[in-house]
């Protein structure tokens, strides 16, 4: 086994998912190759650092907000198809109306009216 082959197997070697014969070959190569031993140590230590990073957790209870969204979703899912289309259409029109209002504002609709 050469260095490149041994390096490709290093994750498997550390996590012990290689076959017995692969493990034996890597072990044998490592015994005679200081550079690959260094590579293995680097990878091992780097992974320990990553895995030791503090867990990230939410800082507030997300449920109250989510519960409101869920209630909407349940209501929508329980509508019949025709009502669902109607509901979708209304929200589309409302979004369109908002978009239109913003656009008018941006092109100076108000300014031109006040002059």
């Amino acid at each position: 086994m050469n260095c490149q082959e041994s390096r490709e197997l290093m994750s498997g070697y550390l996590e012990q998912y290689l076959t017995e014969s692969q493990t034996a070959l890597v072990t044998e190569h490592l015994a005679g190759c200081a550079e690959c031993r260094q590579e293995l140590a680097d990878l091992d230590e780097t992974l320990r650092v990553v895995r030791g990073m503090p867990e990230r957790e939410p800082v507030f209870d997300m449920w109250p907000e989510l519960a409101a969204m869920c209630a909407d979703i349940r209501m929508e899912l329980r509508l019949n198809p025709a009502d669902r289309v109607r509901r979708w259409f209304v929200s589309f029109i409302l979004a369109f109306k908002d978009g239109w209002a913003i656009l008018l504002e941006n092109v100076g609709f108000r300014a031109s009216r006040s002059t």
Binding site: G12, T46, V49, E55, R56, P58, V59, M62
Partner: protein
Amino acid sequence: MSITDRTPMTARGNDLMPLMEQESDAVLVRRYLSGQDSAFEALFRRYQNPIFGFVSRMVRSEDAHDLTQDVFCKAMRALHTYRGEAKFATWLYRIARNVCLNDRRHKAVIREQSLDEMNESPGVAQVPDENADVERIVETHETQRVVNDILTQLTEEQRLLITLRDFRQLSYDEIADVTGISLANVKSKLHRARNAFKEKFKPHLELLREGR
């Protein structure tokens, strides 16, 4: 709404919750689908931290709460399609992966964010693991900053694989399931991702060793 306006973590709304905490995912899914709405809250309580942990490594931390909620909204909409072949957690991670990748595709900002933004956003709590004896190594703020910075320099797929395996500790089979990448490819791609990470981390690793 600012973060401080929101309900504290201790607030819990449901008296049935302690009973439901004992039940399997499959039972909770069935309960929800048969009309017991509170079963969904139990599923949320069970998986909010793993999903949040995943999402907060994949997107800007200021977006992590919103996107976690988004994941559960999508899960609720799709719950009737959940057949139970995959573990519920894996199924949920698959939704979370899609939500994060779609979000990043649209915003494409992850690389632009400043390091401090990612690490010190008030929206994310860092909870040290009491059992980790490597805490000594990573206790410095600097290391966290460097790790986060390097993650943003990797490809989206590399970041995804490292997050699933090395931050969330999913099995290789589960990762194959979540990503749709074959098991053999997960192994080789993850190894390449780790190598890319390791090379970028090397200068910092030297510093950590010198500091010991």
